[in-house]
Symmetry: C2
Subunit: 231 residues, 2 copies
């Protein structure tokens, strides 16, 4: 049985989608190593036409497909109960939903507000018109995000305090070992890293230490992934 | 073996401490019904002098005592593993820490900013000088909180969005049934309820429906507790 992940592609093989990284890390956590990664461009989603929807990532497992990173994690957990658990039980899965919602509503939008322009630079040239039009519907003119990044950093870092406090008490959100909840939140920091804005996390921040531990996981799987070149 | 909880007392037997309620609900969840509740005044903590510290709640179980609501929950979970689980496993316990930190840093301070004056009204007359002095060290003049409550409500309700989103997807933070994570967050809404400010949660809010379900738990244990009289 081959598993395939359709994921968003950027310039120079930089893949920065936090949602795709959640899925890739969920697969690694479950012990899958031989899955296939298929890059899909932002503007042309024909490779996932079979799914009759446009959201990425899409995971295909044999004759079954799933989209939405949360649903993919749940699918993997339920379809492969004998492999290492992503959630560690029903209560933990339920609580991970809260962490998922926090990331979605606090961590991720706050970061996008800081690095939207940097993200744009990581989009392939052929996709830029599409990306601009799509993102400007939600965020307004992209050019407005070229300035004022520094002033937004402080409040965003402050908003991460619940995460910081938790990581002062234990090495991972999942406790002594990483859980899917870790990958949810880490995915957003990976987004920053891949568009060359890892500096949004201060070196002395316990969050940074946690990111470093996660970058080492699975033989440095995320650490070795391509980063947008500076400039 | 008798369990005793030392908890903070208010006017007319109104007990509004969110931390004490977490402990009471943890005990009920674990199936304890015959524990003793000992009210302690804010100004005079001599009843817990045996613990050589001043923080409340304190739980005494036989010859063992524990303080700090989180540590008490962990103690109960570990000391009584055969009773209904508060955490549902190590990963869930670890994730509950994040929810604990969120409550501590977002939900609770935001609420205090709105209802500090109402809380002061729920403090017994003999404790008011002590309470004023203690709280004013942290929050400034209490009188400043008599006005402007309405304007603070909107941003605070907005800050609860991760909770709201989670409760749209499932009946409890713990999933299909309540977990200690629910009691952590619910404790703060109980605080509002007992000082007669349950109206901080809008009737149409999914958070309100969830509170109503929790108020019904354990034979309406929290629903039947005394509320500060209006005026």
């Amino acid at each position: 049985m081959t598993i395939t992940v359709y994921e968003l592609d950027g310039i120079g093989d930089v893949r920065f989608s936090p949602f795709c990284w959640r899925t890739l890390l969920a697969l690694k956590h479950k012990g899958f190593d031989d899955f296939e990664r298929v890059p899909v461009s932002f503007r042309d989603r024909s490779p996932i036409a079979f799914s009759n929807q446009e959201r990425i990532p899409v995971l295909v497992d044999g004759d079954h497909w799933v989209n939405d990173s949360w649903d993919i994690a749940c699918y993997l957990e339920d379809a492969y109960p004998d492999r290492p658990s992503l959630f560690g039980g029903d209560m933990a899965r339920a609580e991970a939903r809260f962490i998922n919602a926090w990331t979605q509503q606090i961590q991720n939008p706050g970061l996008i507000n800081i690095i939207l322009w940097d993200a744009f630079m990581a989009v392939g040239p052929a996709d830029r018109d599409w990306w601009r039009e799509d993102r400007e519907k939600r965020f307004g003119k992209i050019e407005a995000y070229r300035q004022g990044k520094e002033e937004k950093l402080g409040p965003w870092r402050q908003s991460l305090e619940p995460l910081r406090t938790t990581l002062r008490a234990q090495p991972y959100l999942g406790g002594e070992a990483p859980a899917y909840a870790d990958y949810i939140v880490f995915g957003t920091f990976l987004f920053a890293r891949f568009v060359n804005r890892y500096d949004v996390i201060e070196p002395a921040d316990p969050i940074r230490d946690w990111c470093e531990r996660l970058l080492d996981l699975f033989g440095g799987y995320t650490r070795s992934a391509p980063i947008l070149e500076a400039g």
